[in-house]
């Protein structure tokens, strides 16, 4: 389904140095698969996810979905690809504060042309399944970080994507809720025959994936079974610094 071949991406740091965020990575993602990209902060995880989504272009290598090079898609086709094929969960969630939880979750369907009523009807079961059905009509600004994260997941799944890309989807959840969400994602991957790639620095999250890869200094390497659990990493739930956004 998704294939990255020799993909590299460089950035120029403020001091002028060139930083290799992703360096010659090759990766294939298959249907039903829940892939965890595990690594410490600054290892290039998010950049790799953006490359996989076609949100940024590689400096070298190709990113293909069903054999089509994403870099060669027209703007219109790339937009259509994201609208109909891919679901995203960003680390910063990107919820619209003035909309309720269910309207946020329904936003992608509305963008695709559904009426608001149709879109809300479509996403309501998802919110129930994610355990926030009772908070569906709360404004996003009044939700807790964990609730907002689940709304973001609901939005990513709302359009029936074939690929879901999630950046730290359990980063703000307690361990019990994180396990539930990961289990749900795994179940959805199996039920809907879709591929899910998550970026995480949570060893427990990495351990629960069907496949886990470790990213270190822009290079990808297999993660031995149990290695993630043994790795010394920051705790799963990291409180946001005071006054900053979630």
């Amino acid at each position: 389904m998704l294939e990255l071949r020799g993909v590299s991406k460089h950035y120029t740091a403020p001091d002028g140095d060139r930083v290799r965020a992703v360096d010659g990575v090759s990766l294939t993602l298959r249907d039903h698969e829940l892939l965890a990209l595990y690594g410490p902060s600054g290892s290039g995880k998010t950049t790799l996810l953006l490359l996989a989504a076609g949100l940024t272009r590689p400096d070298a290598g190709t990113v293909c979905f069903d054999g089509h090079d994403l870099a060669r898609l027209s703007r219109r086709d790339a937009a259509r690809h994201r609208l109909t094929t891919v679901g995203f969960v960003f680390q910063t969630l990107r919820l619209v504060p003035g909309l309720t939880a269910i309207d946020n979750a329904a936003l992608k369907l509305m963008a695709a042309g559904a009426t608001r009523r149709e879109a809300r009807r479509e996403v309501a079961p998802l919110l129930e399944r994610l355990g926030i059905g009772g908070r569906a009509d709360q404004p996003a600004a009044e939700l807790s970080v964990g609730e907002r994260q689940r709304v973001a997941i609901a939005r990513a799944l709302s359009n029936g994507p074939r690929l879901v890309l999630a950046d730290e989807p359990t980063g703000s959840l307690d361990s019990r809720r994180a396990s539930e969400v990961l289990a749900l994602l795994a179940a959805i991957a199996a039920e809907r025959s879709i591929a899910i790639a998550i970026v995480t620095h949570d060893p427990a999250a990495a351990a629960s994936a069907t496949r886990a890869l470790r990213l270190h200094d822009g290079h990808l390497e297999p993660l031995a079974a149990g290695a993630a659990a043994e790795a010394v990493e920051p705790p799963a739930v990291v409180p946001a610094p005071l006054g900053e956004r979630g």
């Binding site: 609208l83 910063t92 504060p97 963008a111 009426t115 956004r245």
Partner: protein, 841 residues
């Protein structure tokens, strides 16, 4: 995306940021309101005359008008009526007069006509068919005039036309149901022979209205020119309306420009209000694009937002503008009523609505397009991936902005030197330069403040500066709003003061030529344009303290499409023109030539129309066409259509009349004018209808009337200041309120409520102080350019003086008011609960 979904998303956004949306609506509405109100006021002035002209002329398409107040011999009416193709030739008496009663006096135009005028079927003159007006000695008044002077039907009003005042029975008071909107026109209707008698025009007529047979208009016009072309003006029957359109054009132009500047400033307020929400809107759009929303849909989304905002705000603006035009801009420019029958009608045409509404919507759409710039980015989804702080950093000025700002400012500075005709472009460049330079100037000022803050070791100051640096977009929006507010106020009010100073200087020069002036009473005669027989002059020779009595002549003359003010001081006057009035020519030579006779000084616009320069011969279209030579080219002396100066003897010859329009009295040295006035009044006796004034009294009247003419400019600049203070206060309030979580974080760090509040106030003062000082400096440049534009394009006398005090006062005033207003939401926000620091957007 469906329309209903777009509407839903927009409504959510409005509910999330109501203050910013309200601020944007207010900014646009203020701009639209100013433009609309000025449009309505300007249209109404010319429109009222046009309505009156059509109300009188009816089916007549041609007019033969006398070239002076003495009119034409009424024998010409029969001659015209006998010309082939003429159906009706209707004689008309039209004179300016003052009508008075127990409650007051009003300046009016007396219209005298007979059954021939009625037969033209003009809506106004149908009233001549009223039974009462068939009587030979009666007048009819519109209801507002009758009410103002306090004369009912059956009462008596006094009419003064320059001749001895008469008491006339009022046998008709005309209401709206009889003459429609013409009820607002300042007129008196009278039978022709009666009007001829009290206007001292027996056997004379002011004009003849001519209705030609179908298809015969051209041949009739040619016949009229052959018959009377050398002693009367032959033209279309709406010539008066054309003349007033020309006369109001410079004033309309300057008022419209000032309103447009204010409008643009208002719209920039709106743009800045939107700038406050730009990061949030960019993130929203980027999030939708990430999810797969196409470029076309994004454009529709953004345009929809702008369209809804623009339509709502422009509608609010039209309502505000309507109220402004009724209650603030409703006064007619008093000085124009000296020469035209300007009524109080309020005329709203579709063009005024379309310009204001369309302009508002269009400007809003342009202002709303900022987030679309992301579509052109190489990495279009960047804004979705940035954190807030990095996004703020993205608006830190680039070198391009600095270079562009310097380039635009330099281009603006070069315009007065190399292309003074393009001053408006220069002002636009100046505003553009200021907007582009403000970010860099703000950054530099913050750097300097930073250095100072380290020395004073104030935690409050450090926090304030830190907040300003960390939210560049917001700081910039506030600084730019302050800069625009002060720029607009200083430029508009500064050039207004320059214009006022120029008019005052001319008023002083004109009136200081005599110690006492004697002229027919009435506001309409402030410029001494009403002729009268100088029979009282002989009685003054025996009054003690009088050194000399001189005849002054003056009036109006139609030259081409201009109704020109003619000033004819006595030959003995040593300074018929002044250095400040002369645009081209040597002052001393011009004065000598004008005194000698055979020479004339004309305004720049007239010289341009007639294609003459100093020394060229020119034939004035007077009752007795007279060939003179141009002694100098002048400003317009404050009369928008232009002015002509010649000596009183040449005037008498050219107009074929010995009548004067004022008597100048020069006193012996040591004789006080105020003491001499009662003696002069006693000498001329009661009932003459003449007003005796000292030069100072007359100058004060001039100043009052010239200020009336400039009232709108004053009102515009005042409204601009009020709008600026409100916009700044609202912007500050919005910014302060949206930052409550950060304020709570400060409190968590140990800051007291008072310290947080002080930090907010200091922050406001810094950013507004910087913005307003930038606006003040650029505003002084704007004042210079606007003044030059006014002088060049309207011909008004101006006297430039850098409005340093005005700039300082505006800078201090706007900054102080805005900071004080912002202190209130700051005080409330500083009491934010600590738990707010844990809130997420």
């Amino acid at each position: 995306m469906r329309l209903r979904n777009l509407l839903f998303l927009y409504s959510r956004r409005v509910l999330t940021h109501p203050l910013q949306e309200l601020l944007a609506v207010l900014g646009i509405a203020v701009g639209v309101a100013l433009v609309f109100a000025v449009q309505v006021a300007n249209t109404s002035v010319a429109g009222s005359v046009s309505q009156l002209v059509h109300g009188v002329s009816g089916a007549a398409s041609l007019q033969v008008a006398a070239r002076g107040p003495e009119g034409l011999d009424d024998g010409v009416v029969g001659t015209i009526a006998r010309l082939p193709g003429v159906r009706i030739a209707a004689p008309v008496i039209e004179v300016r007069a003052t009508v008075s009663g127990p409650r007051g006096a009003r300046g009016v135009t007396v219209l005298g006509g007979d059954r021939r005028l009625v037969s033209l079927n003009g809506p106004l003159l149908k009233q001549f068919a009223l039974p009462g007006l068939r009587l030979p000695q009666a007048i009819a008044l519109p209801q507002p005039v009758a009410h103002a002077i306090g004369v009912p039907i059956g009462g008596e009003a006094t009419i003064a036309t320059g001749a001895e005042p008469v008491r006339a029975p009022v046998l008709g008071v005309l209401g709206r149901d009889q003459i429609g909107s013409l009820v607002a026109s300042p007129i008196v209707l009278a039978p022709l022979d009666y009007a001829q008698r009290f206007a001292d025009l027996r056997g004379r007529v002011s004009s003849v209205l001519v209705e030609a047979a179908p298809g015969a208009e051209a041949s009739v016009r040619a016949s009229l020119v052959r018959l009377l072309g050398d002693r009367a003006n032959v033209g279309s029957s709406d010539r008066e309306a054309q003349l007033v359109r020309q006369a109001t054009s410079p004033n309309n132009q300057s008022t419209a420009l000032f309103a447009a500047i204010s409008g643009v400033v208002g719209l920039l307020f709106a743009f800045n209000a939107m700038l406050l929400t730009v990061p949030e809107r960019r993130r929203f759009i980027a999030a939708l694009r990430t999810e797969g929303l196409g470029d076309g849909t994004v454009v529709r989304l953004v345009l929809f937002d702008g369209l809804v905002l623009g339509v709502v705000a422009s509608l609010v603006g039209l309502v505000l503008g309507d109220q402004l035009s009724r209650h603030v801009f409703h006064a007619t420019p008093g000085y124009l009523s000296f020469a035209f029958p300007i009524g109080g009608q309020r005329i709203v045409d579709w063009q005024s609505v379309a310009i204001a509404f369309g302009g508002g919507v269009l400007a809003t759409l342009v202002a709303a397009l900022r987030p679309l710039s992301d579509l052109a980015s190489r990495r279009p989804l960047d804004s979705a991936l940035r954190t807030e702080d990095r996004e703020e950093d993205a608006t830190i000025p680039s070198r391009w902005a600095l270079g562009g700002g310097l380039l635009l400012t330099a281009a603006a500075a070069a315009i007065p030197l190399f292309a003074p005709g393009a001053m408006i472009v220069g002002i636009a460049l100046l505003v553009g330069g200021m907007l582009l330079l403000t970010p860099r100037l703000l950054a530099a000022a913050l750097a300097v403040a930073d250095v100072l803050a380290r020395r004073v070791r104030s935690a409050v100051l450090l926090v304030s500066l830190g907040e300003l640096r960390s939210s560049t977009t917001r700081s910039l929006a506030l600084a730019v709003t302050g800069a625009l507010a002060v720029f607009g106020s200083v430029a508009v009010e500064g050039s207004h003061l320059d214009l006022q100073r120029g008019l005052d200087r001319d008023a002083h020069h004109l009136n200081a030529q005599a110690d006492i002036w004697i002229a027919p009473a009435g506001d309409d005669n402030t410029l001494a344009t009403t002729p009268f027989r100088p029979t009282v002059a002989a009685r003054l020779s025996s009054v003690p303290g009088i050194a000399a009595v001189r005849d002054y002549r003056g009036g109006f003359l139609d030259v081409g499409d201009r109704r020109v003010w003619v000033l004819a001081p006595p030959r003995a006057d040593p300074t018929p023109v002044f250095a400040s009035q002369v645009v081209d020519g040597d002052v001393a030579t011009a004065q000598r030539r004008l005194r000698a006779g055979g020479w004339v000084a004309v305004s720049q616009a007239i010289a341009s129309d007639l294609h003459v320069r100093v020394g060229d011969p020119v034939t004035l279209p007077t009752a007795v066409p007279t060939r003179l030579r141009v002694a100098a080219v002048l400003t317009n002396l404050g009369w928008t259509s232009g002015a002509i100066v010649l000596n009183a003897t040449d005037y008498a010859h050219a107009w074929g009349s010995d009548a004067v329009s004022a008597i100048q009295v020069l006193l012996d040295p040591g004789t006080a004018a105020a003491a001499a006035v009662p003696r002069v009044r006693a000498a001329i006796g009661p009932g003459s209808g003449l007003l005796v004034q000292t030069a100072a009294e007359r100058e004060a009247r001039f100043r009052t009337l010239s200020r009336q003419g400039l009232d709108r400019l004053t009102q515009i600049s005042t409204l601009l200041l009020v709008a600026a203070a409100l916009a700044l206060a609202a912007a500050m309030g919005g910014v302060v309120w949206s930052r409550r979580p950060r304020l709570a974080t400060l409190k968590l760090s140990g800051f007291s409520d008072g310290a947080v509040w002080r930090a907010l106030v200091v922050e406001s003062a810094i950013v507004l102080g910087i913005g307003c000082s930038i606006g003040a400096v650029f505003g002084l440049c704007g004042q210079f350019m606007l003044t030059r534009w006014l002088q060049r394009s309207t011909g008004f006398p101006t006297s430039y003086s850098a409005a340093g005090w005005l700039a300082l006062a505006t800078f201090v005033g706007v900054s102080f008011v805005a900071v004080m207003i912002a202190a209130l939401p700051g005080w409330i926000a500083a009491r934010v609960p600590l738990t707010t620091s844990f809130q997420q957007d």
